[in-house]
Symmetry: C2
Subunit: 614 residues, 2 copies
């Protein structure tokens, strides 16, 4: 383990650098000494550097150990009297919040990275991604994202294949979209159920399927007045729940509503622009003005992207200010805020065009422009631009390093200097969000613009590569993180697919072909459409309920595992007589229950402060 | 423990009879001897008769121990070469299926029963039931049913209170039912969420909230060809899944569809009768024929009850013939079959009247007759008639016993003879089903007949008493059974409340008052109603998602329990070094996972044959 750059020359020959802990420039000697001692004294009883573990796993252990260095009798950080400590407080967090430690990040393994890149994206060919290798290098969470991206892209192909002839042969013929919308509807239900099963197979292979994460520690940013935690009975910062509720309902909620209103206001300006462009085109009628027709949509798409990004910062600030105790509560509030706004911001204009204006031509044009513009913008902003900046910076650093330090191991020094300046990967949130919006464009309205799926496929093929490039070359290596599934995003995608059933039914009901079947009575038409929609929704819920979340062979393997562990337990002498009896008395039940929980607990740190969800 | 009646006179003075195991009359001596030895040799290492346990708990232990008497080297039941055994086969099951043992049932504790009755139903007064005592005497499953019945009755009171003035003052004025339907809608959503929380508090107190029942043994009726279980690797009967699927899809499904069709056919006959009665009334117009108007509904209600009961037997036979391996799979298939049929059978005519005939007067009349007739029939058939028969039988037995045996302990002999002839309680299924249908009558259409809730409340007040009487005096005491919640019924009630949202919205949309608001455009009206309905359904799902299933104080207590067990574990020397490390390597995860499962497993019998869900 590396503590700071100056200790580089004293390292042993077999030493592999794993994690960088960057200290502020002016840190006092006494603090450095203390920190080094604390880290080393913790390290003595571990045996981390083992061939048995992958590099990403070693880095995860180091992160885990560093985060669990906790204050014992120290009242403050030595040398920094203003950085207060209390027993049990995580040292690393205090060091980070006090600005003494600037960052902690794992180093890339250049050799492994090169191999990974070669099998992943550098040689362009149509093949599946090396998900197991990605998992080995970046951990389960990121591998699952790439797995989902790949699955989703493959799942889009049928839609794209069906959509293409629609575009080529019957462009102006809306009539056929009953079939397309029906297909859309089944498709969006089925792919999500199939994914759940595929995901279970994958995480079973990785050993994280049955992972439990019941115990969470307070998130780093949480602050409060010292008090007694009612669960643990320990002294630690507490923040009253009613204050948080007040902040949520009196500040965050109005702010979100204001943003939603503003977004709708911008949408109205877009429609004014649209009307102005149309009138200009109609009055002049030239070739030039027909291109002008697309300009309002393009501008609107760019404005949407900018608003989404700005809102994201505001949402992060607000959610952080709400002072949630647990990371999961923070994440849930953030995701809710961002999803609601992004959904309205991206789709409000389309809903308005489809169901208020009922202008299918404008809907198609608007959908196409929004989809394509946002995809191009995303690719540029996310990967290509940072990669280019990164490359320029790389050359500069290399030159500097070669000029200054020729005596020590320049490669490692160069690597550390380079990587510490790289951007930080902020988690899979933005990547999933992008896919979520894409899923919306495709499943909600694609029967009007069947090419949407084809564009999405095309985008995702390049997205895989640009995301891979981003992970490998543009950003700091992230710490690996185990996970069992894509979490809240499964729910988000399922909600979107329910909305898409409603939208598609409404679009079918509005189609001229269906309307022609009921020339006299619109009433009957609507009643039938509503009845069909309800039946489809019911079918969707029944399907989701009836299809098992885990494939049969995984269920079998889990059952076998359970059985074998039971057999193993029987062979080992039992310590507890109470379990030999029928397990139903209150005391026996409590006992069993406690043991069960204790087992889960052990998975978490020994020092973890347990608490209920805030 | 009592093996047979003849051993009565040899029992010790402190002996409390708990469970009766009734043998067939002609059982061979050698078999009796063997069975007695097997039971006693098992009993030696237990210490069951402890004041620490309640009587119901002792009985549960005995049942558990009896069911886990398993064949070792025996190839058949001694004395009965046709009753084959294989290692691990439950002896009791083979004895029961071979007709050697007729039944096993726990005895009532007359003293405790008297006390329970006094605090429960014999002294009529308005108070809550002694649920903790009921749980002590009958176990959690039955106590939960009575808890739900009580909760549901109390929850109906606001509906009844609002409904009463509707009936008294505005009987013929449908206009107001917008308010009533809206109230209905919120009510049906809220009560189910509140119940979930109340139920969690209750089962927390009883210690069954966090109970896990992952491991199930094959159900008694399951049969198959001897083969190797892929999970346990043991020799045991197997039945191929595809055969079961064939039986389900080729026989059961068509049969259920046929029954549904038949039920609709009967409904049509009812409408013919209705039309005939109306024409008769119109042609004569006398007072006498106006009573005749109710006759078809009453006959139809009785026919529905009969069909429900007949279908119930058919469904049980079919589901049993499908040869499900697990009791839970059997129960799920049975419940599904019965619920679908009962729902259609009871509500199809009401839906037809409401939405096809749109005759609100007939709907009200039909609803009232169905509800009241079925309630009266149920009360009589379920409790009063059996109680009366029971009483007559009791007197006969008493006389016989007094005449025959004056020398031995006549009370116990009499009790055993009496109780062995009592009916067997077949579980809470029918009781919940009755409440489910009642919930349907009240929540689906009560805005047309606001008195429905009042009748339901009235019925439930007597239902509590007649069910209590049934449990205490009419039926054999059931073995106590732990459970954490009302299981699949929660889902069934929630589904019904979703359907009630749709129905109520449709009724509101059809009301003259609302129609008067849109004199020109029916189209706008329908679109608005559909939009409101979708918004309400969305709100319902969000509410169900947002309201935590466990109250905060229970969450806190569970968290505290978890924390304390963690602390206890820390203090005890750890056996496994691997858990001291960060728990993320594949091996460590598997290890933890296996331990976790092993813990769950121990709650089940040591001999349990583990298998996946069939």
């Amino acid at each position: 383990m590396k503590v700071n750059l100056s200790s580089l020359d004293t390292c042993e020959s077999s030493f592999t650098p794993l994690v960088v802990l960057e200290l502020a420039q002016d840190v006092k000697e006494e603090t450095k000494e203390w920190l080094k001692n604390r880290i080393v004294s913790k390290k003595e009883d571990g045996d981390d550097n083992n061939d048995f573990l992958t590099m990403a796993e070693c880095q995860f252990i180091i992160k885990h150990e560093l985060e669990n260095l906790r204050a014992r009798e120290e009242k403050m950080i030595p040398g920094y009297p203003q950085a207060k400590l209390y027993p049990g407080k995580s040292l690393l967090r205090r060091l980070l919040t006090s600005g003494i430690v600037i960052q902690v990040f794992p180093l890339h393994d250049n050799e492994a990275l090169k191999k990974l890149e070669d099998s992943w994206y550098t040689r362009f060919s149509l093949k599946y991604q090396p998900l197991d290798r990605i998992r080995g290098y970046f951990g389960e969470t990121i591998a699952l994202y790439f797995g989902f991206l790949e699955y989703f892209t493959v799942a889009l192909i049928p839609m794209a294949v069906i959509g293409l002839p629609y575009y080529l042969f019957v462009w102006e013929d809306y009539d056929k979209y009953v079939i397309f919308a029906s297909f859309n509807l089944i498709w969006s239900t089925v792919i999500l159920e199939v994914w759940k099963r595929g995901c279970a197979s994958m995480t079973y292979r990785w050993g994280t399927l049955v992972m439990k994460r019941q115990f969470e520690e307070p998130r780093p940013g949480f602050h409060g007045v010292l008090g007694i935690n009612p669960v643990t009975g320990r002294e630690e910062p507490l923040y009253p729940s009613y204050k948080r509720q007040l902040r949520i309902y009196l500040v965050s909620l109005p702010f979100v509503c204001l943003c939603l209103y503003f977004s709708l206001y911008v949408m109205m300006i877009y429609f004014d622009m649209e009307a102005w462009a149309l009138s200009l085109h109609e009055s002049s009628g030239s070739e030039w003005t027909s291109i002008l027709l697309y300009v309002p949509s393009i501008i609107y798409a760019i404005v949407i992207e900018i608003m989404n990004r700005l809102y994201r910062y505001a949402a992060e600030f607000l959610t952080s200010w709400e002072n949630h105790r647990l990371e999961s509560a923070y994440q849930n509030h953030l995701i809710l805020k961002v999803l609601v706004f992004n959904f309205l911001n991206c789709f409000a204009s389309l809903f308005y065009i489809a169901f208020v204006l009922r202008d299918m031509k404008l809907l198609r044009q608007s959908l196409a422009t929004l989809l394509i513009t946002s995809q191009i913008l995303n690719q540029i902003m996310e990967s290509l631009l940072p990669y280019w900046l990164q490359k320029k910076h790389h050359v500069q650093v290399k030159r500097k390093v070669q000029a200054l330090k020729a005596d020590i191991d320049a490669t490692l020094y160069e690597q550390v200097v380079l990587e510490k300046e790289m951007g930080t990967y902020l988690g899979t949130f933005d990547d999933y969000l992008e896919l979520f919006l894409q899923f919306g464009y495709v499943s909600l309205f694609s029967c009007v613009y069947p090419l949407a799926a084809a564009f999405a496929v095309l985008n995702n093929f390049t997205e895989v590569n640009s995301d891979a490039l981003k992970m490998c070359r543009v950003l700091k290596r992230p710490f690996s993180e185990p996970s069992a599934n894509i979490g809240v995003w499964q729910l988000a995608f399922e909600t979107m697919s329910v909305i898409s059933v409603v939208t598609n039914c409404a679009l079918i009901g509005m189609s001229p072909q269906v309307n022609a079947l009921f020339p006299e009575s619109k009433l009957d038409l609507i009643l039938i459409v509503v009845a069909v929609e309800h039946a489809l929704l019911a079918l969707k819920f029944i399907l989701a309920f009836a299809i098992p979340d885990k494939p049969r062979h995984i269920q079998m393997k889990l059952a076998r595992l359970e059985f074998e562990s039971l057999e193993a337990l029987k062979r080992q002498p039992s310590e507890n007589i109470i379990e030999e009896k029928a397990p139903f008395t209150k005391e026996a039940k409590r006992e069993n229950q406690m043991k069960l929980m204790a087992q889960n607990l052990k998975e978490d740190s020994r020092e973890g402060n347990k608490e209920e969800e805030a």
